[in-house]
Amino acid sequence: MPRMNMVQAINSAMDIMLDRDPNVICIGQDIGYFGGVFRCTDGLQRKYGEHRVIDAPIAEGGIIGSAIGMGVNGLRPVAEIQFADYIYPGCDQIISELARLRYRTAGDFFAPVTIRTPCGGGIRGGQTHSQSPEGIFTHLCGVKVVMPSNPYDAKGLLIAAIEDDDPVIFFEPKRIYNGPFDGDPDKPAVPWNTHPHSEVPAEYYTLPIGRAEIVRPGEDVTVLCYGTMVHVCQAAADFAEVDAEIIDLRTLSPLDVTTIRQSVEKTGRCVAVHEATRFSGYGAELAATVQEECFYSLEAPILRVTGWDTPYPHAFEWDYFPGKRRVAKALEQVLEMS
C-alpha cells in the first residue's frame, strides 16, 4: 500500500472525489495554480481545470457564502480556509446559513459544503496562525466537525465529509501534516512513513463520520483527544508509564458517546486533552458528557489538559502547547486521586 503524509492523503481524497463526481469543486485562496500554501491541492487544478479548482479572492465570507449557493445548485464544494484563524469572517455564513439551511427549509434546501482548514500551533505561527477554534463550531447544530490525526483517517474522513449531505468542518492539524508529533519540539522531526497509519490505499474508501477510535487500549484511565494531541497523549502515557486507554475522537460533533462511555465505565478515570483554550472549550463538553454518562463509574474528577486561556504566544509556544509533560502530569494526578 502506498505511504502518504497528511498532505498527500488529503490531496488524494480531493483528487478521487473530483474524479468520481463532476459536482465536486474546490475553492479557496491560493489553492488553484499554486496548489495551496500547505500544498494540499497541489496538481488538482492542472488535472481538473480552473473551473473545478478555483482560486478565490481573500474573503472568507465570500468563499463560504458562494459555496453555499453552489451547494444549493447541486455542487459539492470543498472550501479551504487558509488558516483556521481566518475562519471568523465566514462565521455568519457558517452559523446563520450553512448550519441552518436544511432546518429552516424543512429539508427542501441544503448545501453539502465541506470546509477544510488547517488548525493548531507548534509551527511558530504566533497568535494568528495557531488557533484551534473547533470548540465554537461544535456548539452549532447542523454542522459536523471532524479532525483527523493521521493520513489514513484524513483521507477516509475527508471523502466521507465530501459525500456527506450535511456540512462538515474539517480541521487539519497542520503540525502533523508532514509527520506525527509527540509534543517534543527538540526531537528530530519524524516523517509519516514510520507510522502505520501512513499506509493509505490509493483508491477510494471512507471512514464513518461520528465514530471514535481506540488507538491504544488500556485499563487505568481513558484519555479523550484528537488531532495532534493523539500523538502527544500516546507519548505522555509512555512517559508516565500509565496504562491509558487513548481514544481518538476523530469526529467532535456528533460525538461518539458510546465508545467513550464504554471506556470510562471500564477505567473509572478520564482526562480530556486539547490544544485550544480551556474555558468553554470542547473539553468542557467532554467532561460534562462523561460525568453525565459515567458518574457512578468515576473514581476521580475528569481532568482537562488544554492550551492556557490566553492567545497563542509566539515566543512561548512550547510553554503554551499542552505537551507530553503536561498530559503526563494529569495522568499521574488522576490516578493518584480517589
Binding site: 465570500g62 457564502g65 445548485n73 455568519d92 446559513e97 427542501d108 441544503f110 447544530c141 449531505d165 450535511d166
Partner: protein, 413 residues
C-alpha cells in the same frame, strides 16, 4: 489653517412634524435615459444609467423611450393582477396580525412592481434569492396564497414546518430560495448559485434582492467581488425604499451617490430604475438577464421606491418620519401608474379594476379560510412536535434522538 472637523451625521429630509421633502430624489423625464445594447462593455455604458433614472411611464401614463419593453396588454394585465394580489394579500395578513392570528408580518405596499415585474422578466427556471419584502416574486410565479398563509400560520402544511417566523418562505419547485432573517446573506449565495450554473454550463441565471440598508453588510461586498471576478450570471438588486427600519437611506451611504454607483467600481454595470414603474422594472431586469445569460456578466440594479407602510408589525414609523410622507413620494404608486397606463390605452377600466380588487379580496379570504383549515396558531391540525428534531441533519444523530425521547417523556409525565 484647518477647520476643526466634526463628525458628519447624515440627516433625513424630514422628521415627524415637518413637511415631507423629496427634493433629493433625482427626477428625470420618462424615456430620457438611453438603452445601450445589453452586451455593451462596462466602459462604454452611459453614466445616465446610474445618475439618472430609467423610467418608461410618463406622467400621463404613456410608455415612452428606448426602455419601453413593449409588453402586450395581457402581460401588463397579468402584472397588474399580481401586484393587486400582493397588495390584497399584504392587507389581509396585516389584519390577521392585528387580530392576533399570526405573530408577525411585513408588507411591501408601494414596492409591488419591484418584485412582480422582475419575476415576469425572468425565466421560471432562473433562481431567485429574495429578501423578506419581495413577496410579489412568489405571487407572480404563481404560488398559491394558501401556501404562503400556511407558512405564516406555522400550520400543518407550512413548508418550513414551523421553523421560521412568518414571511420567511421558500419554494423549491418554484425556484425561489429560502428567506433568511439575517440580512444580505442571500447575496453571495446567489452569486455562488450562478457560478455553479456557469461551471455546469447551464444557462439559468440567479437574481437576488436586498434593501438599501442591507447593502452595508459585508455580504454585499462579497457578492459584488465574486460576481465581478468570476463574471457570474447574476442580477443583484438593491431595493432602495428610502428606509431601513428608522434610518433613511443616507445612513446606509446613499447620501452622496446612488447605490447603483457601487457597481462600476467593481467592474459591474449599475442601473437605477424607477421601482414604481412596472415596464421600467421589467425592461431593466430583462436587460440584465440578457447580459447574465449571454455570459456578458452581472448587473447591479437599484430600484428606487418608497416603503409606504411600517417596516414590520413591530414598527411605528410615525416616530421617525412625517405621517404623510408616502403621499409626497414623487414616483407615485406602482399599481395606480400601471392602471392609468392600461386605461389610457383602452386595455383596462375603473370598473374592471374595482371588480378585480373585489375578486382578489374574496379570493384572499377564501384562501385564508382554506389555510386555517390546515391549522392555526391555536387550532388543530398542528404540526407534529417531534418535527422539532428533524432536518437539523440529514439523518438524526444519537444525541437528538435522545433529546426527542426526553421531550416525549416529559409530555407523558
Amino acid at each position: 489653517m484647518t477647520r476643526t472637523p466634526r463628525l458628519h451625521i447624515p440627516h433625513p429630509p424630514a422628521r415627524p412634524g415637518a413637511d415631507p421633502d423629496f427634493s433629493y430624489v433625482t427626477r428625470v423625464p420618462a424615456g430620457s435615459v438611453p438603452r445601450p445594447d445589453p452586451h455593451t462593455r462596462l466602459r462604454d455604458l452611459p453614466n445616465e444609467l446610474i445618475y439618472d433614472i430609467v423610467r418608461v411611464l410618463d406622467d400621463e401614463g404613456t410608455a415612452v423611450g428606448p426602455w419601453d419593453p413593449g409588453l402586450d396588454p395581457d402581460e401588463l394585465q397579468f402584472g397588474l393582477r399580481h401586484m393587486l394580489e400582493t397588495r390584497a394579500f399584504d392587507d389581509h395578513m396585516l389584519r390577521m396580525h392585528r387580530q392576533g392570528k399570526i405573530s408577525f408580518y411585513m408588507k411591501s405596499r408601494g414596492e409591488e412592481a419591484v418584485a412582480v415585474a422582475a419575476a415576469m422578466a425572468l425565466k421560471p427556471s432562473d433562481m431567485l434569492f429574495p429578501s423578506y419584502r419581495v413577496q410579489g416574486l412568489q405571487i407572480a410565479r404563481g404560488r398559491s396564497l394558501v401556501d404562503l398563509m400556511n407558512q405564516c400560520l406555522s400550520n400543518s402544511r407550512d413548508m418550513c414546518k414551523g421553523r421560521q417566523m412568518p414571511i420567511m418562505y421558500h419554494w423549491k419547485r418554484g425556484n425561489i430560495f429560502s428567506i433568511s432573517g439575517n440580512l444580505t446573506t442571500q447575496y453571495p449565495q446567489a452569486v455562488g448559485w450562478a457560478m455553479a450554473a456557469a461551471i455546469k454550463g447551464e444557462d439559468d441565471i440567479a437574481a437576488a434582492w436586498i434593501g438599501e440598508g442591507s447593502s452595508a453588510e459585508a455580504d454585499f461586498h462579497h457578492a459584488m467581488t465574486f460576481a465581478s471576478v468570476y463574471r457570474a450570471p447574476v442580477i443583484l438588486n438593491i431595493v432602495n425604499n428610502q428606509y431601513a427600519i428608522s434610518t433613511f437611506q443616507g445612513t446606509a451611504g446613499g447620501e452622496h451617490r446612488p447605490f447603483a454607483a457601487r457597481g462600476p467600481g467593481y467592474g459591474i454595470p449599475g442601473i437605477r430604475v424607477d421601482g414604481n414603474d412596472f415596464p421600467a422594472v421589467y425592461a431593466v431586469t430583462q436587460w440584465a438577464a440578457e447580459r447574465a445569460r449571454s455570459g456578458t456578466g452581472p448587473t447591479l440594479i437599484e430600484l428606487v421606491t418608497y416603503r409606504v407602510d411600517a417596516h414590520s408589525t413591530s414598527d411605528d414609523p410615525s416616530r421617525y418620519r412625517p405621517k404623510n410622507e408616502a403621499d409626497a413620494w414623487p414616483y407615485g404608486d406602482p399599481v395606480e401608474r400601471l392602471k392609468t397606463h392600461l386605461i389610457r390605452f383602452g386595455q383596462w377600466s375603473e370598473t374592471r379594476h374595482a371588480a378585480l380588487v373585489e375578486e382578489l379580496k374574496a379570493q384572499v379570504e377564501r384562501d385564508w379560510a382554506e389555510a386555517c383549515s390546515y391549522g392555526t396558531m391555536t387550532a388543530p391540525p398542528f404540526l407534529d412536535k417531534n418535527e422539532l428534531f428533524e432536518d437539523v441533519y440529514a439523518d438524526m444523530p444519537p444525541h437528538l434522538i435522545a433529546q426527542k425521547k426526553q421531550m416525549r417523556a416529559l409530555e407523558e409525565d
